[in-house]
């Protein structure tokens, strides 16, 4: 179970976070508090594993989330002892603890000033820049946060995580085309990320509700298909594909009049029909096998399965009528 502490915990359900935090006393007691950095001693004493520090970092995040601040400070102290107070990641974690402790806006302003101070000394301290962006967003100052993030991306344009955050920020402001652009940048950096393909498809699907439906739908169809191509039995991809094909079939598109060379044409309705059938079949299979409790099909989340089942039921109701 402690293997989940080797992965960043922010997407875990609350129960798992609580479970991780409850392991804290155990881990803190059993792990070495400090590992000597001298070569001779490290040869003699128990070897320092890389997982130890990952565990500390993720444990710290879980502890902060569950509000166990004392243990969190202990974790930070050990990390600082090992890597030094001026390590960039340790600095960011320190800021994180302060943010978690802050009760009012005034304190947050002070923390923000501290970040600015650190960045004046070293403008390329990426973890702190990211903390600053996150803090601004958390304080509700999204436009400022976007500006800060864009300047970060000017410095380091290959940071896929930052592009993904930018996409999410734009999306929260309803700026679909900018968000889509940012996600496309993520895909340039990580072309195999099947979940980002699906995310981009979802965003295009939402954008198609507001403007330029045929082009966005065609693009979404392409993205969902790619995510399925990259990952067998990808529920999210098939779900999106089903939604898109339903949309395309329900409102027959006029023969695409804008046939610009670089534009993606909406595929013929026969192709869409086939894709729709394939998606329905696959979704039904996933739901059936997961519910039947087959051992190799238990990786899906319950909520996803429920959503897929509802979508299928809705679709079948429509055909009956």
């Amino acid at each position: 179970m402690s293997s989940s502490l080797l992965r960043p915990p922010s997407h875990l359900p609350p129960a798992t976070a609580l479970h991780n935090s409850q392991q804290a006393p155990n881990i803190l007691n059993n792990s070495p508090g400090a590992v000597s950095t001298s070569v001779i001693q490290s040869l003699l004493s128990t070897s320092e594993s890389q997982e130890l520090w990952t565990t500390y970092e993720n444990l710290l995040l879980s502890l902060l989330r569950t509000g166990d601040d004392d243990s969190a400070h202990l974790c930070l102290a050990r990390l600082a002892k090992r890597f030094g107070d001026d390590n960039e990641r340790v600095m960011a974690l320190k800021g994180l603890i302060k943010e978690a402790d802050a009760n009012d806006t005034a304190t947050l302003e002070i923390i923000l000033k501290e970040y600015d101070q650190i960045l004046q000394d070293n403008p390329t301290n990426l973890p702190i820049v990211k903390r600053r962006v996150a803090l601004l967003r958390s304080m509700g100052r999204t436009p400022e946060s976007i500006t800060a993030l864009i300047s970060l991306l000017d410095v380091s344009p290959t940071d896929a995580e930052a592009w993904a955050e930018l996409a999410d920020l734009y999306f929260s402001q309803g700026l679909y085309s900018q968000a889509i652009f940012a996600l496309e940048e993520v895909l340039v950096l990580q072309p195999n990320a099947w979940n980002v393909h699906a995310r981009l498809g979802e965003m295009l699907l939402m954008a198609s509700k507001t403007s330029d439906a045929p082009r966005h739908l065609a693009e979404a169809l392409k993205r969902f298909s790619r995510s399925i191509e990259l990952c067998d039995d990808y529920l999210r991809g098939y779900y999106g594909l089903k939604l898109t094909t339903t949309q395309l079939l329900s409102e027959p598109q006029k023969a695409s009049k804008q046939t610009e060379p670089d534009e993606l044409a909406v595929p013929s309705s026969a192709t869409v029909q086939k894709l729709d059938e394939a998606a329905t079949e696959k979704l039904a299979e996933i739901v059936r096998r997961h519910t039947a409790g087959e051992r190799d099909w238990q990786g899906y989340e319950e909520a996803e399965i429920t959503a897929a089942r509802e979508l299928l039921e809705k679709a079948s109701e429509k055909t009956v009528r």
Binding site: S3, L6, R7, P8, S10, H11, P14, A17, L18, E51, L61, L64, R65, T66, G67, A92, L96, E99, A100, A102, P127, K130, R131, V133, A134, R137, S138, A160, E161, A162, A164, E165, D168, V186, Q190, N192, A193, W194, N195, V196, R199, E229, L230, C231, D232, D233, Y234, L235, R295, D296, W297, Q298, G299, Y300
Partner: protein
């Protein structure tokens, strides 16, 4: 399953050691005999220098046994096709990446691109704390 492979490897190593020892003893004995026989006029060297067949068989058998033990002790093979591997992560979750003793393998990270959606560098800790407090209240 691990103890089977381990005991097979161990037994193979033991056999191999025994074969080596036998070969060594045999050659020692041969040279001793050759030295003692050289005083005699009728030497029959050449016919006695080859290793007895049972030692050869033992060596080959031991090597095969060690190979078998090591091969049966390796962890499960991973899919080499990207979509199959990704599909396994999505479909089976942690359960698909257990080693022979039933624990999740250490290098299993789930979907490595999940970081692009959870973005630990930009975590909003105050929101997470609030959500967690509400979850606790709801329990």
């Amino acid at each position: 399953m691990t103890w089977i492979s381990k005991s097979t490897t161990g037994f193979g190593l033991l056999l191999l050691a025994h074969a080596c020892y036998s070969a060594h003893e045999h050659s020692a004995l041969q040279s001793h005999r050759a030295a003692s026989l050289s005083s005699l006029p009728t030497t029959q060297s050449g016919s006695t220098t080859s290793l007895p067949i049972d030692i050869t068989i033992e060596t080959v058998l031991a090597t095969l046994m060690i190979c078998l033990g090591l091969v049966s002790g390796t962890s499960r093979l991973r899919p080499i096709q990207w979509r199959v591997w990704a599909g396994q992560i999505e479909r089976e979750g942690e359960a698909g990446f257990t080693n022979s003793s039933g624990e999740v393998e250490k290098d299993y990270v789930g979907n490595p691109f999940r970081l692009l959606e959870s973005r630990p560098g930009f975590v909003d800790i105050r929101k997470q704390r609030k959500e967690f407090a509400e979850w606790v209240k709801g329990q």
